[in-house]
Subunit: 201 residues, 2 copies
DNA sequence: GCCATAATAGGAACACGTTCCACTTCTCGT
DNA sequence: ACGAGAAGTGGAACGTGTTCCTATTATGGC
């Protein structure tokens, strides 16, 4: 009934539905990885996921929802893969730079996918706010964790959260510059180092 | 001959062409102001500017070029309107906050226009890099001017430029959050104050 | 097992950005 | 003034996101 949000994973009853959802997101990632934002065509996703176009739209009400949801899933996967391991570095600045540098490196390995997901994120409007908020929270918490103690035992302060948000904003802007071909990967690293140095001094 | 960039204003020969270009940009702003990004439809722009669709595409090779060019013109106009007047405030932080606050206030008065221009800016790819760079430079120079002495006699240092870029990045990200309905105008002001305080301390 | 209902398939139809084409009008060098 | 080439007109046509409709299939309560 709830046609406002895309069906979130928890409320999918049958295993067949979870399976469909997974196939759709897999197809999305595959197509995005091959040809970027433009290659994620709704008909192609439906074909590759072996669902009808109408079904695809039942699961994800727009291309943007689809891509932002895919971004959320990949982000979670990546977060799960590295959770538990302490972040190297003696200072907050070092740790944050480490996290940003590694993430940027991962993104560079699949520029088409990065382009697709970043563009979707920046183009999303209020109807995608749930998914966007989800991703935004994950990003902020990754950064506060890197800023705080490496075991993350203490809650971040308001100030730390504010700083993390600012860093996240700068990162997104830089990323947009990169995926749209206006700046190089080195530019992204440089501007992130500058921002981190200024904010965590 | 040069089909890569949209015709820039200087190289337009006849007065009739300058006039056409002006009508197109006026129509773009009017439509954007009324209904935002989606309302700027190429056929509607052509109609309202009283040019053929093909002519519109001769002047601006895509909707994004069109909107980013319109953004550039408005930015220039706004910059011209306030140039010469000293920026109030005793510290760099105060002056930058003043400039950002006033600009944000102007943008809030026409949310549809702001949405259209911001989205175009964030969606632009490398083929629009000339126009994007133009706007980016204006933004950075407004900020460095506010940071430096109010008369702008001294050149900004590298550090100041880096800080201005970071502030600009944060501002763009916040703006995207606002125009896409994910955060309020107050949120924008708050996060800008935070960023400015952190960066200009 | 059977029926009511929801979910899916398959695909037509529509909207808007973009391209293209045939024709007309303007501009400019001679 | 004239002719050639550039610029503009008007509109058809195409691609892709989105909507919609009908027929078919899966599901859950009895």
């Amino acid at each position: 009934m709830n046609a406002l949000n895309s069906l979130s994973q928890e409320e999918l009853g049958s295993a067949a539905q979870r399976e469909r959802r997974k196939r759709i997101l897999d197809a999305t990632i595959a197509l995005a990885s091959r040809g970027g934002f433009d290659a994620v065509q709704m008909r192609a996703v439906a074909d590759q996921a072996d669902v009808a176009l109408g079904t695809l739209y039942r699961y994800f009400p727009s291309k943007i929802h689809l891509l932002v949801s895919a971004l959320g899933r990949e982000f979670e996967r990546s977060q799960a893969a590295m959770s538990g391991k302490p972040i190297p570095g003696d200072t907050a600045e070092q740790r944050v730079n480490y996290v940003l540098g590694r993430t940027t490196k991962i993104l560079q390995k699949d520029p088409n996918l990065t382009e697709a997901l970043t563009r979707a994120f920046m183009f999303a409007d209020a109807s995608v706010s749930t998914e966007i908020h989800h991703v935004g929270m994950m990003l902020t918490s990754v950064l506060t964790e890197a800023m705080g103690t490496r075991t993350g035992d203490a809650e971040p302060t308001e100030e730390e959260i504010a700083i993390a948000r600012v860093i996240g904003d700068v990162w997104l802007s830089s990323l947009v510059g990169w995926v749209t071909g206006r700046s190089s990967a080195t530019d992204v690293e440089t501007s992130m180092s500058v921002a981190v140095r200024l904010l965590l001094r």
